[in-house]
Symmetry: C2
Subunit: 205 residues, 2 copies
DNA sequence: CCTACCGATCGGTAGG
DNA sequence: CCTACCGATCGGTAGG
């Protein structure tokens, strides 16, 4: 994510210097709102107040935009996860922190999350396999925390896969409703979801 | 849902009589796989082994297909919910049953769930508002169970909205991974999610 | 159910 | 950054 903007459409009208980053940012906003196939490149150009062909001075093509959004986001998810569990041995700490950073990212990078979840399947190979590999790596790492906790008897869960999906997906849903100007901060929402995760695996302090 | 098939593509090759129901079924499968905007009507026709214009002897248009999928599915969700809570007064029973039927539907009607969640925003007005009203009605009814349980002191939950979204969305996610030939039946998955819901709201028997 | 065909729009290139 | 333009594909109609 090299965009200078964390949220919102980049400066469109007036003396806004169009760059690769601003094209990617405008595309990200529109892909998140209307979906990849529902967004015409002419709409991206219009958001930047330029003509469609001018976009191609900054980017290679529409598919490239999607690929960079998806792969970079999934890399960031994996990096978050690795950093979150590093140095922690207690499954309770590991699950709480892994859930917290995952939930937090879905509150702070809503557009990226929406696009990844909706449009990853539209990627051509080999980007599709690359995306699926990254996603699977995260799921596997996340689930293993639950399995380890269950083996140690600290978690009581029937099916680690089921619990893992439930926790991951309730976190993903944050991207659908979270508002920066809402009653809860991203950190509060993330903390609460981390507690939900521990309840799902039946951890009782 | 008047389709004769609960899952899978309707009989395509050979002596398959194409009907309105079979067109809707083929479109449902393809919309679920590739998204509404990612599916060409020519692909729907190809799945039925007819030419594109022949589709229009059975349906009014592409938008109509999406509208009927979304509105009928949301109506069914509301009907499920109403039936599930009818006659139950204990918030524990109400939440367990409301979650169970919602989760169950996402396991048994995966394609519909995927399309509703991915493509509702692509509906033109007034169908868009109709869909949003139905979804909101369900969310409100669902959340009120949690609020009532919290008021009665049987649930301990910080934010009813947060808990409601988390429960609903972890159930929605079932549509993304559930397989009929997997290790768990739809009923088992639904029951487990109902228990997850009670844990999230901190109900302790 | 088909062939023939439509206007509109798509992503993208040429060539300044 | 633009105008001019491309071939491909879109949803859909006419008229059998």
């Amino acid at each position: 994510m090299s965009s200078a903007h964390a949220e919102g459409v980049s400066a469109p009208a007036g003396r806004g210097a169009v760059t690769g980053a601003s094209v990617r940012d405008a595309a990200l906003t529109l892909f998140a709102e209307r979906g990849y196939h529902g967004t015409a490149m002419s709409t991206v150009a219009a958001a930047l107040v330029i003509r469609t062909p001018s976009l191609y001075n900054h980017i290679r093509g529409k598919q490239d935009l999607l690929e960079s959004i998806v792969v970079e986001t999934l890399d960031a998810v994996l990096a978050d996860h690795t950093a979150a569990v590093a140095g922690r041995v207690d499954p309770v700490d590991r699950l709480r922190e892994a859930t917290r950073v995952y939930a937090l990212r879905h509150a702070t990078h809503r557009r990226e999350a929406l696009v990844v979840n909706r449009d990853t399947a539209s990627l051509p190979e080999p980007a599709l396999s690359a995306a699926r590999d990254r996603r699977r790596a995260h799921e596997t790492a996340f689930r293993s925390i639950i399995s380890e906790g269950a083996e140690q008897g600290v978690f009581a869960v029937g099916d680690a896969r089921l619990a893992s999906f439930a926790i991951l997906e309730m976190s993903v849903s944050i991207a659908r409703w979270f508002r920066e100007d809402g009653p809860l901060t991203a950190e509060q929402v993330a903390d609460e979801h981390a507690e939900f995760a521990l309840r799902i695996v039946r951890y009782r302090p």
